[in-house]
Every structure is written in structure tokens, then in C-alpha cells.
């Protein structure tokens, strides 16, 4: 698959949050205001990109040669946890402003299913290193797009008069459902028309 096709696929056609439901917890939890939503979106993009590259290396240089692919899940989680830790320390040392912006969200990344999800999906799809990297980046951008749109809608709706039982999480789910419906407009045919 070409790189453009991978990006379009993971940002629009099978958007991680809205069609595959990965990363639902931060999507609902951190989308109350735009600023923190965008922070979370960038943190996910950053870690997903790094993680998909590193897990590709783990898979092809360690797990497959040693014939211990059954340890995949355990290995990936540990690698992602370690990676998050390293990213946190590097940012703190060399890019304090970025650390300040993302710092709060980084520890949450270890148990974010979008990160482990993209790593597993990229391995199962038999991508090469650069394709995995692209897929990780695109899935992060898809998450950023979804959470940004969601947070702007929720900021507006906060001042509206919503029926009492729907307040809070239920209305957030219904908004997400409407967003998912609009994302149904992007399907495989779009990819064919664009790239051929």
C-alpha cells in the first residue's frame, strides 16, 4: 500500500476512534475543553508514531528470529511503557515547553489502547518499517482530528439546555455517534477515486 493510501485510510476511512473504537477512554475523558484535547491529541500522535516504529523493530529483530512471537503482547506493552518513560525524560530535559504541554498526558499513554492497537494492527498487516511508522503517525493524526472536533462541539454544548438524563457522558456518546455517521462518508471508494 502506498504511503498516501495508509495516511488516508487511518485518518479518515478507518479512523481509530470513530470506526474502530480504540482510545475511547481519553476521547471521552479529556475532550471537555479544546486546549487539553489538543494536548492529548499531540501526545497520542507522538507516542503512537514512535511506538509503531519501535514495536516493528522488536517484532522483526527480536521476536521473530528468536521464535517467541507468543510473547508479543507482553513485549509490546513493556516496550511502550519504557518508551513513554524515556520520551517523558527526554522531553523534560531538552524541550521543557513541550514537556509542560504534554506532560500530564504522557503517563496515561501506557494503557491507551490506541497505542497498543496500532502496534498490533501494523504488525498483523505485514507493513515494513516505514509503513508502520506512517500508520502510527496517521492513526495519531486521526485521533487528534476526532478529539479536536469533539472538544469544540462539547465546549459549545456545555452552555445548552440538555435534558437531564443525557447530561455528561450520554450526550458525548451521541455526539460521537453523529460524528461516526459523518465519517461513514469516507469509504474504500474514496481511496479508489483519489489514488486509482
Amino acid at each position: 500500500m502506498s504511503y498516501v493510501a495508509i495516511i488516508i485510510t487511518y485518518v479518515f476511512i478507518s479512523n481509530f476512534v470513530l470506526t474502530q473504537f480504540l482510545g475511547m477512554c481519553p476521547f471521552l475523558g479529556v475532550s471537555k475543553n479544546v486546549e487539553s484535547a489538543v494536548g492529548m491529541g499531540f501526545a497520542v500522535t507522538f507516542v503512537a508514531t514512535m511506538a509503531s516504529l519501535v514495536t516493528w523493530m522488536i517484532q522483526h529483530y527480536i521476536l521473530v528470529p528468536l521464535n517467541i512471537v507468543f510473547l508479543q503482547t507482553v513485549a509490546f506493552i513493556l516496550v511502550i511503557a519504557a518508551l513513554v518513560q524515556i520520551v517523558e525524560m527526554v522531553l523534560q530535559k531538552f524541550a521543557p515547553p513541550l514537556y509542560k504541554a504534554l506532560g500530564l498526558f504522557l503517563p496515561l499513554m501506557t494503557t491507551n489502547c490506541a497505542i497498543l492497537g496500532v502496534a498490533v494492527i501494523a504488525v498483523r498487516a505485514n507493513y515494513n518499517a516505514l509503513e508502520s511508522f506512517t500508520a502510527g503517525f496517521a492513526c495519531g493524526v486521526g485521533f487528534l482530528l476526532a478529539i479536536f472536533v469533539m472538544s469544540t462541539i462539547r465546549e459549545r454544548i456545555a452552555t445548552e439546555d440538555i435534558p437531564k438524563p443525557f447530561r455528561g457522558i450520554p450526550i458525548a456518546f451521541i455526539i460521537a455517534g453523529l460524528m461516526a455517521m459523518s465519517f461513514m462518508a469516507f469509504d474504500k471508494a474514496l481511496l479508489k477515486n483519489l489514488i486509482g
Partner: protein
Amino acid sequence: MIKELTKGVFKENAIFVMGIGLCPTLGVSTKVVNALGMGAGVIFVLICSNIMISLLKDFIPNKVRIPAYIVVIASFTAVVEMVMQAYTPGLFRTLGVFVPLIAVNCVIFARAEVFAGKHTILPSILDALGAGIGFTLGLLVIALIREVLGSGTITLFPLGSFEGVIDIPVLINSPVRIVGLSAGALFVIGFLQAFLNWYIAKKKEVK
């Protein structure tokens, strides 16, 4: 003792009350059989990891407890993955990426952190069983609504002469397709939670 079991099923139901473990709930609730398979996997990992963690709680230093829990949970997830791949390959394929993702399921993690790390082995097993049954029940309700409305069938395991698929008379010819799609999952869970909020508020009023 029984309270540990029942609180996870109703009062602290993971999906409807606590709002955790939502990713697999939305992802695998297209068919009843998928919900049952996922529920079984989660219950197994929950019980095993709760047993393991309650046994190890005196040996795990407090500072590294989170990574330790992650390793325990991920190891049992790998077991589930292998068993499922070997005995129910069809189910393993449909559940797809959500099988390895049991490892980062917040329900399991929450039980380890909140309960198993502080209690002895027997209450931990009951707690895990309760939380697991509660999760499966919630998943089952959503899957039932989505499959019946979305495709007009109920898919179970094939057993003897029973093919494993029950057809619902009118709905099979004209199903409400949107409920089975990804947007439908979000609508169903949103309306169910709103209904639950309304019901609880009404019950309080009566009191």
C-alpha cells in the same frame, strides 16, 4: 463475602456505572457470540490476575506495582490469545485486535489496583468474578440490542442440530442497519446510559 460478588455486577457495573472498559464494549458488540467470547476471555484474565496479584501483594514494592500489574495481566492475556487461536480460530479472527487489547482493559486494571492489591485471595476471586460478570452482562445487553435491531438475528454457538443462529421474524427482512454499524454502537450506549440515569433519578424521587 457475597457482597464482593454482587457489587461488581450491579452497583459498580463497569460499563454502565463506572464507564470503563468501553473500547472492547463498542468494538465487539456486533454479535452476541462475540460478546460471549470476549466476556469469557476477560473473566478468565480478571480472575487469574486478581489471584496472582493478591498472592504477590506483599512482595511487590509499592513503587513498581503498576508495571508489575501490567506484566501479570499481559501474560494471562497471552494465554487467552493462544487458547483462542488454537480452539476457536473463527472467533479469534472476528475479535481481531481486541484480544491482545484485553491486556490494557481498564476493568482488569482497576480491579487489580483497587481491590486485589489490598485484599486476600478469596475476596479477590469473588471481586474478579463479580466485575467480570458485570462486564459480560453489560456487553451482552449491548450486543443483543445491536444484533437484533441491526441484522435481525441472534448468533450463538452451534450445538447439535441447532445451527447457532436464531432469526427474528420481521427484523431479518428489514433490519435497522445503522445500529449494527459503528455509529450505532455509540448511539445505543449513549441512550442506554441516559435511560439508566433517568431510571435512577426516578427511583430516588419515589423514595
